[in-house]
Subunit: 219 residues, 4 copies
DNA sequence: TATGAATGAGTTTTCATTCAT
DNA sequence: TATGAATGAAAACTCATTCAT
């Protein structure tokens, strides 16, 4: 069974797409966010100066503040924008899949693909965004909640259909899966791996579905 | 099958134990580290001032620098000290367990127990230490490597004994497990949960061993 | 034979002149340098805080760093600016004098006059700039070299014209003269003398030209 | 006429001599001063730590304060001790010389010789001691006064005997000579010259006595 | 909208000096 | 006398943010 590769698009494609969706303001805003992601990925959030971001974006320092109200908001907006996009796409693409197992697999694929096609974003997501309790508490609850919600819904559907073991807590399973995917992603970023991250989807999901025990001996 | 609860000790017990092991210098060094963990956990690393740590430890600002050469080293020493202790204890206790499945379960138990008994440490580990590429790259490789190595060894032994599926990459499985455990821990910290973290060991390991699929349908 | 007193200008005159020559940036830069010289002269370089300089200049602390990259550079820029000005003026005015003896005398006059008309500068030059090997080695070679070069050229010309004893090392004579002038200046500064420094030109040059021996007995 | 080379002694000789003159306290005090001079010469006064001096002297930090009451006093004591020694020696040796011209020459010789035989001392004298108005004003007056006094006395005697031009201000001439000697010394130190400093005595004194003008044309 | 010069709050770290032993 | 652990004052510099143009 193969990893589904529905058109995830190239990075350039994504840029164009986003640009055409918004007006001029949205376009510039997005342009600044791209610059910020690149700068943060290169030097780390704390070592990056707002003026570095401005220079990368080809605008004056003050202009950044016409679009974002603080350096912090630059970081959280990178997260929000990418998460919105991810969730929008996930919901859209998952709607076309029937089997909850394939839905989960595709969800994992989208997760990895969105990081793989934009390494700057991956670095910001896996490394820079983890700083500070502020982010972890503030954003986790707000936007990650929907991420988890999607997984939970699929799990619950799968349980209703007899595909997943019914006694498992859907909430726990969702965290379990996220933890596994997140660790793969972090590891891929930190190791500066050139290997494909999406190639990990099948092996990871295989363990997730079947566990590590052989002949399914109950432990 | 129950989670093994070999004497993990209380936090107070641990303090006394460490103190008697070292000389006066080690004792004071450790005292400062405790204060730092408490302060960092309370306010976050970046919002904490070295003078806060000094005050918490009941010493002068400058004295901190007689034991640690920078604020950064305070953070990394919290990690190192706890990891050393964890690994030492894990190796010791795992040696007394024969079944690789029980070894993994106990490993997970130790992981959760060491965070649960010291919430300051847990916060520092799950939140504060994730900041900056510097830490992630610097310490990951050095000390986390041994953490992963222990898991891998158990996995491989289990595979040789026919307990774990032989075709799985031990490396991948180790990351998978760590990711799941780490996410549980982070979630426990962020949600300010009063629930027991160690109580999650069995449910988590159950999924890890058996997967989420019902009747083990190969996906 | 009198000391030539070509228009050396007042301090106020000098300020205006420099200001009109540069752009706005140069003007502000120069304004900060004046403030720094005043503060350093008053309290000494090490006892002066950058914030003292900023307050004296009527700007914010950080603004100093938009024009100079360190407190050190403030000190060295005072030297450089004054030396550039001195050398420029010296070369210009010496060009109009034929007799090498009068050239040397005028050179000494300019040296003393530039210190006398700006006591802050004099204090910085004679006292504050002497601190640290760093300055002495760094700037000596770079800018003092031209100072010495001017003297040497005059000496050599004088020797060719039979005015100065040909067997003397021009290099040695230049150091000899500088040493004598420098000591007079330092003494004038340290003693808080109200006496005229330029009044010392003729007596000093007289000894320099004729030596201390009476009836020219060869010693 | 040759530069007199009365036994000025080696540095090792000097150390022994001083040591035997004082008691144990004086000996240790002197030992610390040697260490301080070495450290200050190597790193500069401001970059040197009291603990560096203590380590160089092979004693504990606190012990330094049993002999000197501050880091500042360490610097000024180096000056005082060397000046005392210099003046004592100069007065003693000059007493055996009749001709004021030879006295001056020998005085210059002693000045250069004492720096040449102890480069650490030379660096401290020519560079480190010049820092801060404090030193320049405090010590100049106190101990340099006697230095100048010696020169003035010789000058005045020489004038009475018709050897030096009577109309010259002895005070001015003393400064003139000191300035010239001081500049040679500073130059020798800064240029890291391996050339002999004492070799400069004769050429310098020759200019001092006879001036630079040829055929003694009155300028 | 865009600019970019100016602001000024904020904190780690050093190291001379002390003093209990 | 000697030690050296502990003290704590002190300041250069950065950079996010503002605002007059």
């Amino acid at each position: 069974m193969e990893t589904t590769r529905r058109q995830v698009g190239t990075q350039a494609g994504a840029e164009a797409e986003v640009a055409e969706r918004g007006g001029l303001r949205a376009e510039k805003s997005w342009h600044i966010l791209r610059a910020a992601a690149k700068v943060f990925a290169r030097s780390g959030y704390f070592n990056s100066k707002v003026s570095d971001v401005a220079r990368e974006a080809g605008i004056a320092d003050g202009t950044v503040y016409l679009y974002f109200k603080s350096k912090d908001e630059l970081l959280s907006s990178i997260f929000s924008a990418a998460m919105d996009e991810f969730i929008r796409r996930a919901r859209a693409e998952l709607a076309g899949i029937v089997d909850p197992r394939e839905q989960l697999r595709h969800f994992a694929y989208l997760h990895f693909a969105s990081l793989e096609r934009d390494r700057d974003l991956a670095i910001v997501f896996q490394i820079e965004l983890r700083q500070s309790t502020k982010f972890m508490e503030q954003f986790s609850s707000a936007q990650l909640a929907e991420y988890f919600q999607i997984i939970r819904e699929i799990i619950e559907t799968g349980q209703q259909r007899g595909l997943f073991r019914p006694q498992l807590s859907a909430r726990l399973v969702a965290k379990f899966l996220f933890g596994a995917l997140d660790e793969m992603a972090t590891n891929w970023v930190i190791s500066h791996s050139n290997a494909s991250l999406t190639a990990m989807v099948d092996p990871v999901m295989e363990i997730f579905f079947n566990g590590v025990s052989s002949n399914h001996a109950q432990v």
